[in-house]
């Protein structure tokens, strides 16, 4: 019998008459080709199952790329070693949960070095693609492939963005034996899950600081990568693992005319949402947006909500406060977090600070990050790019002007500042408009971070 990889799936050929594949979980009859088929992820479990049933396999998928060689030893801190050991002992499948800034990537490098099998590292953004490739280069002397951000090269160790992996897994699925998924919490909600389901790699390591809450998403994530094998909270980390930080929440007030506008807009959309909840008691905000878009009054409500968001993104009080803070902290390396690209460009124009948005190209981003590291520029302003994973080692001040991504985004943003160095004490300044939704959101974000 033969198991053949077919564009992200496994097709069962030359079945012995004694075998009934319908009883093997995950294997389905495909009437389109008159054969049995399974998702690529099941390649190894399927082979084991067939062996257990004494079925002889003359051919089965295995990683097509040659194993990587040339790894330097990766030194791990004790808690990183514990996380690695937990993953290793659990069959080299599963998720490691560690706070942002605690060195999850190191664990990934240790896994690459220890398994010595061709590996595909998945990262959420183009910015992280380059960072991973650069960091890998410090521990690994061989060629590093990159998929995404205009690059398309394959090597025994390849880094790919989620989007590129999703598009190309039909071709790549049988090349690698190890999958490393950075910011693994992005999976499990069906958006890009095919990328993990179509790969044959039996070894899988997921890394995240913010795992999904127990429920269907986490369950699906466990199926695709493996269960959570190790988890450590900020409070459980050794003291020197993260830089200590101070938090300042600066209360701000809208100008009377802005406050009036804000209140009017909020009344409009809250009224529409309350009416919607009466007819749809279990519906969520996303459902409201979708259904409201079909009526004039609904569209007015959505427009009002968007206007509220825009107003809170960078009102006059925040403009003044930001200017003051920038002046006061002019000698410190500062990251400014805003809600959207428009605001990032506004801040950039006004204060002559480099914006780092998803629209800035790879080369320019690298140059600017290098200038930031070397101190040639002192501040970066970003909406989303700095939210996750991107390593900005020397930054020690974060000014949170506004955000859209809730508690998870906040945890990630603060994490950018907590990479430890000698004598470092980080400062997080949060600008919070009073008498607005920002007050409640800010409290929620911090309570989650501390927890």
């Amino acid at each position: 019998m033969r198991l053949l990889f077919d564009r992200g799936t496994i097709v069962l050929h030359d079945l012995p008459s004694s075998l009934d594949p319908s009883i093997i979980p995950g294997v389905l009859w495909d009437p389109r080709i008159a054969a049995w088929r399974a998702p690529g992820r099941l390649a190894y479990p399927l082979a084991s199952e067939l062996r257990r049933r004494d079925v002889r396999l003359s051919d089965r998928p295995h990683p097509q790329l040659s194993p990587p060689t040339g790894f330097q030893p990766v030194a791990l801190r004790p808690y990183q070693q514990a996380a690695f050991d937990a993953w290793h002992e659990a069959g080299r499948r599963g998720i490691v949960v560690l706070p942002t800034g605690s060195g999850k990537t190191r664990i990934a490098f240790a896994a690459l070095a220890a398994t010595r099998t061709p590996a595909l590292c998945l990262v959420p953004t183009r910015a992280l693609l380059q960072q991973w490739a650069n960091e890998l280069g410090k521990y690994y002397g061989g060629p590093i492939g990159c998929l995404g951000d205009g690059q398309r090269s394959l090597a025994p160790i390849t880094v790919a963005t989620f989007a590129s992996a999703y598009r190309n897994m039909a071709l790549l699925g049988d090349r690698f034996g190890l999958l490393i998924v950075d910011e693994a919490h992005h999976f499990g909600n069906a958006r890009h899950d095919e990328a993990l389901d179509m790969a044959i790699a039996p070894l899988r390591l997921g890394l995240t600081a913010t795992p999904p809450a127990p429920g269907p998403t986490l369950q699906r994530l466990s199926t695709l990568i493996g269960p959570v094998r190790f988890e450590l909270k900020i409070s459980e980390l050794p003291e020197d693992s993260l830089a200590p930080f101070d938090r300042i929440t600066q209360p701000l007030w809208l100008e009377p005319e802005e406050q009036r506008t804000y209140d009017d807009l909020r009344t409009l959309y809250r009224g529409a949402f309350a009416a919607f909840r009466i007819t749809h008691p279990v519906a969520k905000w996303d459902d409201f947006i979708r259904i409201a878009a079909n009526t004039d009054s609904g569209r007015r409500a959505i427009a009002a909500w968007r206007s509220c968001q825009r107003l809170l993104a960078f009102p006059r009080c925040k403009q003044q406060a930001l200017a003051t803070w920038l002046q006061r902290l002019s000698d410190r390396k500062t990251l400014i977090f805003v809600a959207d690209n428009d605001t990032a460009y506004r801040v950039a124009r006004e204060h002559l600070l480099m914006p780092l948005t998803c629209e800035i190209g790879r080369r320019e981003r690298s140059v600017m990050l290098e200038h930031f590291r070397s101190g040639k520029i002192r501040a970066l302003v970003s909406a989303q790019v700095l939210n996750e994973g991107l390593d900005v080692p020397d930054a020690d001040v974060g000014i949170v002007v506004a955000g859209r991504g809730g508690e998870r985004e906040h945890t990630q943003r603060v994490g950018r500042l907590l990479r430890p160095s000698d004598g470092k004490r980080a400062l997080v300044v949060e600008l919070v408009v009073q008498q607005s939704t920002e007050v409640q959101n800010a409290d929620k974000r911090w309570s989650r971070l501390v927890a």
């Binding site: 495909d30 080709i33 039909a170 389901d197 979708r290 460009y345 600017m368 040639k376 501040a379």
Partner: protein, 386 residues
């Protein structure tokens, strides 16, 4: 491609009806084009903000958003000749970081160093970035009719981008559709229909067996403009729209702009044979790409149908076997035999066709070397005695 939120659809139970633009939409389309013209030289962001507000003439919200997306795609952007915006940013932000001077002073100094007009510095600073690019009218501004056509195609493609499976009943040009589908990695199964109705093609990707995935949506959407070249088609798709799988239906009456005309010939071999037959088959109509033959779950696409001018009941199909391996050739012959088409001549490359004739005696083989001899083929056709 249009995002899901911009697809104009009407939902009726499980069906999604695509709300195409028609001639009645031309007046507001004209206004929309004029609005774009008004923003020439301004950042795209400003135009987007203006478009979020009401228009002088009422326009259906979703149609308008879809048409605006297409116009954005058609419009060009201004490229400053004097400097690369990325270089301008690097110099300006570095100067600003190292200078204690007023911001305005830093701007002036940077403009001086880079030898650009100070008043243009702010304008050019981000003009290469998608949301900040400066709008530039295309050389040929689209008419409302062209915009309508392009928008309708984009609407249909955006829906198909979210398709999990597609099935198509089609007449004419089936070969091009099947070929493209396979090239895009789709599985194409054929269901013969009773009473000589056109066969149904079901298209989906290998992985679609396990989940209603939209992974193959792009490949499925690419087929759409080619369908416009079919004589007749009916397409049914299951698309994930507004959180659920919904049925979408399109046919030849859907206002979809066709793609470039498909190439008339697959290969030079076919083209040369067609040219030669002009001289040697004067008594026959030579019809390119006749309707496919159904052989079990497969379709076979003969390259030519010869139909006698005086006796139209005399019909012979000709297939050029463009094969590469003996296995492929054997499989092809097995399918041709199963199609039960007695008046079929298969032209095969003499160097590779060894030992296949005996197995399928009902088929007429014409070996060729380099090119198919039109005279020899006509002799074979006449020799069939039909």
């Amino acid at each position: 491609m249009l995002p899901e939120s911009d697809i104009p659809i009407r939902l009726v139970d499980n069906e999604a009806h695509l709300d195409f633009l028609g001639a009645q939409d031309d007046p507001w389309l004209r206004l929309l084009i004029a609005e774009f013209d008004r923003f020439e030289g301004f950042p795209r962001r400003q135009l987007s903000e203006a478009l979020a507000g009401p228009m002088p003439r009422p326009a259906p919200q979703w149609k308008r958003r879809a048409a605006a997306r297409i116009l954005f795609r058609l419009w060009d952007r201004e490229r400053p000749q004097a400097i690369q915006p990325a270089l301008l940013r690097e110099v300006l932000f570095r100067c600003a970081a190292q200078s204690k001077a007023e911001r305005a002073r830093v701007r002036e100094e940077t403009a001086f160093v880079l030898q650009i007009p100070p008043e243009q510095l702010s304008r050019w600073l981000f003009c290469d970035l998608p949301s900040e690019r400066l709008m530039k009218r295309p050389t040929a501004s689209p008419s409302p009719q062209v915009l309508r056509q392009e928008t309708n195609l984009a609407i249909a493609q955006a829906a198909l981008m979210r398709a999990a499976t597609v099935s198509i009943d089609l007449v004419g040009n089936a070969r091009a559709i099947v070929r493209l589908a396979r090239l895009r990695g789709l599985l194409c199964s054929v269901m013969a229909q009773p009473n000589h109705a056109p066969p149904t093609l079901s298209l989906s990707g290998p992985y679609a067996l396990f989940r209603h995935t939209i992974l193959y949506g792009k490949a499925l959407a690419e087929l759409l403009p080619r369908l416009a070249w079919c004589n007749r088609y009916e397409l049914r798709a299951q698309c994930r729209l507004q959180g659920r799988l919904r049925d979408v239906f399109l046919d030849q009456d859907s206002p979809i702009a066709p793609a470039k005309e498909p190439k008339p010939f697959d290969s030079k071999l076919e083209q040369r044979l067609a040219d030669d037959l002009q001289q040697h088959a004067t008594e026959w109509h030579i019809i390119r790409e006749p309707e496919p033959l159904t052989a079990g779950k497969h379709l076979i696409f003969p390259d030519f149908l010869f139909q006698h001018r005086l006796h139209p009941e005399r019909r012979v199909l000709v297939e050029l076997a463009g094969f590469w391996t003996p296995e492929y050739l054997s499989q092809k012959f097995a399918r041709l035999a199963a199609s039960n088409a007695p008046n079929l001549i298969v032209c095969v490359d003499a160097e590779r066709a060894c030992g296949v004739q005996a197995a399928h005696e009902t088929l007429r083989l014409l070996p060729y070397r380099g090119h198919v001899d039109a005279k020899a083929l006509m002799a074979k056709v006449e020799g069939l005695g039909i």
